[in-house]
């Protein structure tokens, strides 16, 4: 059992991080905390990819003359994750941009407060329309 | 059987479709607009009649328009059976076209252009149903008929009309989507085709259980035939102007319903299959119940149109009852009753409309002495009523006679009883009206002289006289009509 845990500890860490991020995204009211959760969640996946391609004692996949037979890590997951990081950053940027706009419009970044305000507005609209 | 390929049925359908555009463009000039309607009606009648000699010679006309999906074609076939419905609808449209002019103008109705457009379209749909060669084509026109009659039902746009029209739509569209479409899909799945073939396509393709389910789905899905409990929409539809009730809810729409029921019984299931599974008998009992129940309800209605509507429900089930007896005489009677009931009931509805247009009276209790004000109208009403009761010298007698013969042929005397009881009930709800009209004094303060034949009112009275004459004439030309009916009977029963 112990061996199983130690042997796959990288996955366990990934899953732990993922769950922390997931929790923050779902349960936190503060929008910025949600975005932080989102980042943790994504980073956990990045770690997962990278740890998969890690090998004991391997070097970067740069092969030069006379150095054949060298053990090197699989470069593809790293490349993929570079792309995914770019995606993640643009997502974060967009989310933070949205939060700024939300703060300007509502004066708050607490989700329940914002939904409350939306509700209020809708009720007022209905009242004004006389229904 | 010889098959002739011809586009005539398509022209017959399209003529009123094109008339819609002409009517729309002539919206500002009522006279031109109405003349388009009349011209279209005449041309349509001409095309339909031009096909009659071919059919009487024992040939059929076919035309395959296009294939929509693999296995689903839009195709038309004209045979003797189609002609029953097509002739009835196209003849009565001419009369109704004139009647509309009188009724709509004397009541100064609004939205008349929309009214005439939808009217023409619904005739297209009715003929489409008459001429369709497969279930898919028929389904298209069935739904089209529902959709284009909707604006006619909601015509007055009052809160009541909106409510009733919506129920009309839910009943007709709902049953057709949920039950009829399921039945069609199942037929297609089991039989591999949707074509109408004399003798049926379903025999031997699925287990008895499945066929019974499909049968029930079909009968429930064709709410237009007004079989209880799917008749509710018909009395509701009476909120429409009277010409609509007359042509559509006594002729085109409801006759389309029973026409389809017959078509499905004879051309999808086939006589043999129905007899084998006892489905004909089951349907005959449902129809009998509808006949009696509708007549009893009709007795209690004071609104003239409502009473006529329930009478229609009952009379439609006559057609269904007759065909479900599955004997040659009964099937012939059922086909003929389509024509007979159409001409009789349209006369009655025309009278109801003429009375309303001239005096604004809607209720039977207000009709005391009306025979003195509108003698011609009420004579026509008497003719229509006597025909539906089944008195000799009027068309209705013939069909009841054959129906009774058919019931005896089939060995089910109970249905003879049903016919007799319902005839008595018919008499019970029609004759008091006649009596009140002719033999009761007018209420105090009403002038006995209403100008029955002046102005637009004349347009409402003359058509109903014509249809009354038709009712009597049908009695005398019945042998020739029976020739046509025999053609149908021979094709669906001849094989067995």
């Amino acid at each position: 059992m112990m061996e199983f845990i130690l042997g796959k500890y990288n996955y366990l860490v990934c899953i732990l991080l993922m769950m922390i991020g997931f929790y923050a995204m779902i349960a936190k009211e503060n929008l910025v905390k949600k975005v932080i959760g989102l980042n943790i969640f994504q980073t956990a996946i990045f770690l997962f990819y990278i740890s998969v391609s890690y090998m004991e004692g391997a070097t970067a996949p740069v092969v030069w003359q006379g150095q054949e037979g060298v053990l090197y890590g699989n470069p593809l997951p790293h490349v993929l994750i570079l792309t995914a990081i770019v995606v993640g950053i643009s997502m974060t940027a967009l989310a933070l941009g949205l939060i700024i706009k939300i703060y300007q419009e509502y004066g708050s970044i607490e989700e329940n407060r914002i939904l409350e305000l939306n509700q209020l507005e809708e009720e007022q609209n209905l009242k004004r329309a006389g229904r | 059987m010889e098959i002739i390929e011809s586009t005539k049925p398509i022209y017959a359908i399209l003529i009123s479709f094109f008339a819609t555009f002409l009517i729309a463009f002539a919206a500002r000039s009522p006279n031109l607009r109405e003349s388009w309607t009349v011209i279209a009606a005449l041309i349509k009648f001409g095309i339909v009649m031009s096909m009659l000699p071919i059919i009487l010679a024992g040939k059929t006309i076919e035309y395959n328009l296009l294939t929509v999906m693999p296995g689903l074609d839009i195709a038309f076939r004209v045979d003797a059976f189609s002609m029953f419905f097509a002739i009835t609808a196209s003849t009565l449209w001419i009369v109704t076209a004139f009647y509309c002019i009188g009724y709509m103008r004397s009541l100064k109705e609004k939205h008349q252009t929309r009214f005439y457009m939808c009217f023409a379209l619904s005739l297209s749909a009715a003929l489409g149903i008459a001429f369709s060669a497969n279930l898919f084509t028929m389904f298209i026109f069935y739904e089209m008929l529902t959709l284009v009659t909707y604006p006619l039902v909601i015509h007055s746009q009052t809160a009541e009309a909106v409510k009733k029209a919506r129920r009309y739509l839910v009943y007709l569209l709902g049953t057709s989507i949920v039950f009829q479409l399921t039945a069609i899909v199942a037929t297609f799945y089991f039989a591999g085709t949707l074509e109408f073939i004399p003798g049926g396509i379903l025999a031997g393709t699925a287990s008895d259980m499945v066929i019974v389910v499909i049968f029930i789905l079909f009968i429930a899905g064709i709410a237009k035939a007004g079989i209880m409990p799917f008749h509710v929409w018909l009395p509701e539809a009476m909120v429409a102007p009277t010409p609509v009730s007359a042509l559509l809810h006594a002729v085109a729409v409801v006759k389309a319903g029973v026409f389809i029921v017959i078509k499905i019984l004879l051309y999808v299931f086939g006589v043999d299959l129905l007899a084998e599974l006892g489905l004909g008998l089951a349907l005959a009992f449902v129809a009998s119940f509808t006949i009696i129940a509708a007549s009893v309800i009709a007795l209690q209605k004071d609104n003239l149109k409502a009473r006529l509507a329930y009478s229609t429900v009952g009379q439609l089930s006559y057609v269904v009852l007759a065909v479900s007896l599955l004997t040659p005489a009964a099937i012939a009677a059922s086909l003929m009753h389509i024509m007979v009931h159409a001409s009789s009931k349209i006369t009655l509805f025309f009278t109801a409309g003429a009375i309303y247009a001239a005096t604004k009276k809607k209720k039977i209790s207000e009709l005391d002495g009306i025979g003195k004000q509108m003698p011609l109208t009420m004579i026509a009403f008497t003719v229509g009523a006597l025909s539906l009761i089944g008195v000799p010298l009027f068309a209705g007698f013939i069909t009841k006679w054959y129906m009774a013969t058919g019931a005896i042929e089939a060995g089910h005397l109970i249905f003879v009883g049903v016919i007799i009881i319902s005839s008595m009930l018919n008499a019970a709800y029609f004759l008091p009206i006649v009596r009140a009209a002719f033999f009761k004094p007018l209420p105090e303060g009403e002038h006995p002289k209403v100008k029955e034949l002046s102005g637009y009112t004349a347009f409402t009275v003359v058509p109903l006289l014509i249809t009354a004459v038709m009712v009597v004439a049908l009695f005398f030309v019945a042998p020739w009509v029976m020739v046509l009916a025999q053609l149908v009977v021979a094709s669906v029963i001849g094989g067995s």
């Binding site: - | 296009l66 604006p151 569209l173 949920v178």
Partner: protein
Amino acid sequence: MIANIIENIPGLVVLIVIIAASLIPLVGKSRPVLAWGIAVIAAFLSFIMSLYILNVVMTTGKIRYWFGNWEPPWGIEYVFDPLSAFVLTLVSFVGFIVLVYAKKSLEAEIDPERITYFYALYMLFIGGLMGVVATGDIFNLYVFLEIAAIAGYALIAVGRRREALMASFTYLILGTIAAAFILIGIGYLYMATGTLNIIDLAVILPEIYQSKVVLIAFAFFTVGLSIKIALFPLHNWLPNAYTYAPSVTSIVMAAIATKVGAYVLIRVMFTVFGPEFELTVVHVTEVFLVLSVVAMIIGSVLAIAQTDIKKMLAYSSIAQVGYITLGIALMNVTGLTGSIMHILNHAIMKACLFMVVGAIVYRTGITHIHDFVGLGKKMPYTMAAFTIGALSMIGMPLTVGFVGKWYLTLGSLEAGMWYIIPVILVSSLLAVGYLWRLLDNIYFKQPENASELKTVKAKEAPLAMLIPTCVLALLCIVLGTFAYLPISIAEEAAKVLLRY
């Protein structure tokens, strides 16, 4: 030169849209008209190219295009089979026709200085979706999905009302979770097979069906994609996103965003994992069946409860997604054909309906259905288009909506699941319920107080908006009447997917 271009059309079809997206902010900064012009031209060219691809695929079979001539698995390839060519044509067509419509609508709904950027994001959105459809590399698919998604969040957020911001944010959070799930799924697949190329995956996976890793990958894919297509009960993001977005965004999102999600679901289930996997290893189809049925009913019922037309159409989209997944769950050619036909139907019909809503908003600013009284007289052509779209949604014969439903019903019978049929048809009936209430208001209801009517000043929509709307309405009928052609493609696609 020409030959060179024709040879590279499978790559250019997506590239041209993305290039246009990056060009627009550079040249059109102060001149939105120029931006619009570039966008329209690019989208049109892309549509023509996708038609060409569809034609080639249907006549000669699958196209494989290697970017920069790098052979997979080293390079990224684009693969066009009947399904992807079909969906690609649909996406590029809707993308083009909505752009024609967009000009007037955006001028009325968006700040003038933002219009140029809106076009840039719009092109990125379309380009992303087209890339998803075109690519034959599963990681590339994820990237394109995210490009489209990020552009989509921004397109929603520029809506007029402040609710749009929160709708966009909610969508962003859920969309990112979905994308992350897909990313994990891809990671597991890569771990198990060592390749990202879809064709290679399809070859390798059957050998390791029983592996837990493959199972987990599949689970992550289906959950992630179910969020993307808003399959009940993962639909929470959709109604607000459609409702508060600008009209143009609503049209394009409702028409093709979820459809491309459905495409990916089909691709993953049938091409990557293969129909055998669903039939023998995981019985996911039963889950999909139940969820589709619930979605079809609940979506329609919720649509009836709405009084805002955009929200009503949004809930109806949730029901329509149920139809699509139902066809997938049936696992036979007829059902899958129905599903693909329903993708076509829903794209065209929903685009048409949302365009009508956009036109109403443009002329009157109302979206509450009780205010629609009298519109039938004021905007006759627009409302005629709406009627046709509504009939197609109900599934009247001779409209394209009927075709999809016919095949779905027939497919359920073939699969021996006759009890699905009432659900399909009752859901159509519920559609009659919510659409007819609207049509009654538009055509037949008498105003209680004529002076208070909000439609008094309405008049027919400008031609630039009217023509695209009417074209789509006509397509609903043409594709429903001459259904042979789309069906032949859809059926071919279904056969390829189910490996017949």
